[in-house]
């Protein structure tokens, strides 16, 4: 700074006065106006600064920038110049937005943690490090801005940088202490999926609106706790709950049922979506229900209208799910032949129905279930199939390459099918499909998806990042199913812990054996004895730095990996999904 400030004023009178506005008009794309540059310099000085601070710096920049052209053309401004200034401001705004955007991920990324340290170290010499840091870091940010700093208004940058340095110094301090809490919460979100962290899932019914029906209240918690889990099950449960809502509903005075019921239902829907984001099938069902409500003639007597809606819900469930499932199961079961080894992932109800039906038809085949943490949906499927007399092999997803070697067909359930033919399903599905299609042996295994048309959506998914659902990361820790054989009751373990306790007693002095055991449990990671069964090494992950947990719910399987989609309207290639969706929604 000390070296840069003397050099800065010399080009400034000429460059800042005249050059800056012209360059800004010349190209808005390369933001060479002073506010921009200042923005970039202040931004580079503190890459992780919060938004309001950057705004401050930017406004100071524009404020400093405004007088500069005023020197060149005092008082009267021609329309062209007004235009120029507007353009410059626009460029500044754009640059500010960009800077904010860039600073966003930097704050979340580990790099963000490194830079404040450096800043703090140089924080005592605030101004100088500000300038130095700026010039040091600029080359990273593109040569256009670098030249603009050299040529563009250096004087303004000097003052601006000083101001920004002052600001930044206080900002750096607060970053370390005051804002640490919110930052820490942010740190726990995996940056790529940052947009998916909405509000936390509701944990209690407390705070729910008074108009939310008890059936819906209960359903919300059931869905949250995966008691009601699976796209079809959630859809059916929602519709049945709404049926009860409609039965209990009375139209208030001065309004009509078709008008008011939709808004009344919206409260229920909002509550449900705070418990867990709605599935595609739920969305489609709700859309159909709302359409049915709005189609009711307002003059219809209320009892009649309610009976109609109850009938509508029943027939919707019957046509779109119950009977559809039967049709799908019977046509998918035709694809199972004697001697087949069917690989399936997690616990799809429609796949279960298909396999049971094929078994009932007397087909001799084996089933290999691939399952994954943390929901272990395949366990109940394995139990049901084994009880029915099928040969079942159960393994987790890391055993996929072994399971797929023997496979002759892969059956998958779906959460949704998108309009580009991709399968949106429980996370891990894509891995299973890929293993089946890219098998090293050469012969590829057909991948069959069983899916009701109510799960079709007109949305398009290119990856599983843009649209997804993030579940509570704590599920990854708490679901600790292993009953360790070498657990605490084991005599060797007891003696080991006793030895630890003795050590603790000898070293620390005055500690009880229990406390020593707890200490040993805490030190489990290094001592590597037994304590995992007591507490997972990941407990307290929120307090430990540099540790993020990601519990993603779904992934997207490319259409090329899917050979066939079995729906109640027939078997289709994935490319036919949009056509069928269009037809089934128009009907």
């Amino acid at each position: 700074m000390t070296s840069s400030t003397p050099t800065a004023p010399s080009p400034s009178p000429a460059a800042a006065g005249a050059a800056a506005p012209t360059t800004s008009t010349a190209s808005t794309a390369s933001p060479s106006s002073k506010p921009t540059k200042q923005q970039s310099s202040s931004q580079s000085q503190k890459p992780s600064k919060p938004a309001n601070k950057s705004k401050d710096a930017a406004t100071s920049g524009t404020a400093a920038g405004a007088p500069a052209p005023a020197d060149g053309a005092p008082a009267q401004l021609t329309p062209a110049e007004l235009k120029k200034r507007a353009k410059a401001e626009k460029a500044a705004r754009r640059a500010r937005e960009r800077a904010e955007r860039e600073s966003g991920p930097a704050g979340g990324a580990p790099a963000g943690a490194a830079t404040p340290g450096k800043k703090d170290g140089s924080g005592s010499a605030a101004g100088s490090t500000g300038g130095g840091g700026g010039s040091k870091q600029l080359p990273r940010r593109g040569s256009a801005q670098n030249t603009s700093q050299n040529g563009g208004g250096g004087s303004v940058s000097g003052t601006g940088a000083a101001a920004a340095g002052g600001l930044e110094k206080s900002g750096g301090g607060s970053w370390g202490s005051g804002e640490s809490k919110s930052k820490k919460a942010d740190d726990k979100n995996v940056a790529v999926f940052g947009h998916l962290y909405g509000q936390q899932r509701r944990t209690t019914v407390a705070g729910a609106g008074k108009e939310v029906h008890p059936a819906v209240l209960a359903l919300g918690l059931q869905m949250r706790d995966y008691v009601v889990c699976g796209s079809s099950a959630r859809c059916v449960a929602t519709l049945l709950a709404f049926k009860r809502v409609i039965e209990a509903y009375t139209t208030p005075m001065g309004t009509s049922l078709p008008r008011h019921l939709t808004t009344y239902l919206s409260h229920q829907i909002t509550y449900l979506s705070t418990c867990r984001p709605l599935s595609i099938s739920q969305g489609n069902a709700i859309r159909a229900l709302k359409l049915a409500i709005s189609s009711i003639d307002p003059s219809t007597p209320e009892a009649e209208a309610k009976a109609f809606l109850g009938e509508f819900i029943d027939s919707f469930i019957r046509e779109k799910i119950t009977v559809a499932d039967q049709v799908i199961a019977s046509s998918a079961a035709q694809k199972i032949q004697d001697g087949d080894v069917i690989v399936t992932f997690a616990g799809s109800s429609i796949v279960k129905q298909t396999l049971l039906l094929a078994h009932k038809q007397g087909k001799k085949f084996r089933v290999s279930i691939i399952d994954s943490r943390p929901l272990f949906e395949g366990k109940s499927l394995a139990r049901t199939l084994a009880n029915a007399g099928l040969d079942v092999q159960y393994s987790l997803v890391h055993g996929i390459s072994h399971a797929i070697k023997a496979a002759s067909k892969v059956f998958l359930g779906a959460h949704a099918m998108t309009s580009n033919g991709r399968l949106y399903s429980r996370v891990g599905t894509a891995l299973v499909a890929m293993s089946a299609k890219e098998r090293a042996g050469g012969v590829e295994v057909p991948v069959i998806v069983c899916c009701e048309t109510v799960k079709f959506t007109d949305r398009v998914a290119l990856d599983s990042i843009v649209v997804n659902e993030i579940a509570d990361a704590d599920e990854l820790i708490t679901a600790e199913p292993m009953q360790q054989l070498t657990g605490l009751p084991d005599p060797a373990a007891v003696t080991a812990s006793a030895a630890d306790a003795k050590k603790g007693g000898g070293g620390g002095g005055g500690k009880s054996a229990a406390a020593a055991a707890a200490a040993a449990a805490n030190a489990a990671a290094e001592s590597n004895t037994l304590a995992q069964s007591v507490s997972s090494p990941l407990t307290g992950w929120k307090e430990s730095a540099n540790l993020q947990l990601l519990n993603i719910m779904y992934d997207v399987t490319p259409a090329e990996y899917v050979d066939m989609v079995v729906t109640e309207m027939g078997s289709l290639p994935p490319s036919a999904v949009p056509i069928v969706h269009r037809m089934s929604t128009n009907l």
């Binding site: 694809k335 057909p446 069959i448 066939m564 309207m569 027939g570 290639p573 036919a576």
Partner: protein
């Protein structure tokens, strides 16, 4: 009435009619022959109610499918006809369920005939669509005895070197003669087309199936016929088409399929061995088995040709959609994925 139907239906043998139709008209495809046989069946059987008609149709269809070794092509026709009947009968108005059944029947029969005539015309339509794919100076590789391909190539050759004529060459893949048991007198399928093309001045080279990979380098485009187009856009066609498709894909040559839209079948094979027909192509034998068979053949000399002939001539394979560049049909040139759309349009 039901008794009368059955007695009058008895003399009418649907299988014999179907086979007779196929034999009498060499231009007839299997689905069309099946539809024509069903129309004839309806004219011969004086059924009086809709459900009776449908029932009769269903039974005869099942019977026909069972007695033909490879019912894939045929089932396209019977399914289509049945579907057509049902939609016609469900339509409200004079010809709906409420109307006079005799009128309905007359309507059905006349429409059935119209359908057959249209289906026969579709070949010209396809040729008109497809001739653009045979460019001047190109070399076309084709196989089998597909009549659609033959008509396409002949139309592309034009009328005796007229101004619209395209100069092209043909590499014709000939498989061994049909029913080699009967003797070498029978000529391989497709020889007729070869002669017809040579007559029109198109240079034709005939190669055995084993020379496809060797010759494909000289070809610019592959055009094949199909017995049935399945739901995912793949085709069921005579044995050997799949390997041509694979080779064409490997060499980057466009692979076009020519098929009438009445050959679209509601079938979704997942692979070669998922076709709904029994094909004894791969037949593992030890010396013992061969000896056993020889003694059996000596005991009953008659049935052997019957067993052998479908094996050698009627076997089919399945070409998956990713090997097919486009399907040239009478409803336009379709990508494989558009086939399912067409099928859904027909069926819903």
């Amino acid at each position: 009435m039901a008794a009368a139907t059955s007695t009058s239906a008895k003399p009418f043998d649907i299988v014999a009619t179907y086979n007779e139709l196929l034999r009498s008209d060499p231009d007839l495809t299997m689905p069309i022959a099946a539809i024509e046989a069903l129309v004839l069946l309806l004219t011969h059987s004086p059924s009086s109610t809709i459900s009776e008609t449908l029932d009769l149709l269903e039974k005869s269809t099942a019977h026909l499918k069972q007695s033909i070794p490879n019912p894939i092509g045929l089932s396209a026709g019977t399914d289509l006809f049945q579907r057509y009947l049902i939609t016609t009968l469900q339509r409200p108005g004079q010809l709906g369920p409420a109307g006079d059944f005799n009128a309905i029947r007359a309507h059905l029969l006349s429409n059935g005939r119209l359908f057959i005539r249209r289906a026969k015309e579709s070949r010209d339509k396809i040729a008109a669509f497809g001739r653009g794919f045979v460019r001047d100076g190109s070399t076309v590789l084709t196989n089998g005895g597909s009549r659609v391909v033959a008509s396409l190539l002949q139309q592309a050759a034009g009328e005796k070197g007229g101004p619209s004529a395209v100069r092209f060459r043909v590499i014709y893949v000939l498989s061994p003669a049909k029913g080699d048991v009967e003797g070498s007198s029978a000529e391989p399928e497709g020889m007729e087309t070869v002669r017809a093309l040579r007559e029109k001045g198109v240079p034709v080279a005939t190669i055995p199936e084993s020379a496809v990979a060797y010759s494909l380098g000289k070809a610019d485009v592959v055009i094949v016929g199909a017995e049935g187009v399945v739901e995912n856009g793949g085709i069921v066609s005579r044995m050997g088409t799949y390997q041509i498709g694979l080779l064409a894909k490997a060499m980057g040559k466009p692979f076009y399929v020519v098929a009438e839209s009445h050959k679209f079948v509601r079938l979704y094979p997942l692979g070669q061995y998922d076709l709904p027909i029994e094909q004894r192509v791969i037949d593992f034998k030890t010396e013992e088995d061969v000896a056993d068979e020889a003694t059996q053949q000596q005991q009953q000399a008659q049935p052997t040709p019957n067993v052998k002939s479908p094996d050698s001539s009627d076997v089919v394979d399945y070409t998956p959609p990713h090997l097919i560049s486009a399907l040239i049909t009478d409803s336009g040139v379709l990508t494989p994925s558009a086939v399912s759309e067409e099928l859904i349009k027909i069926w819903f």
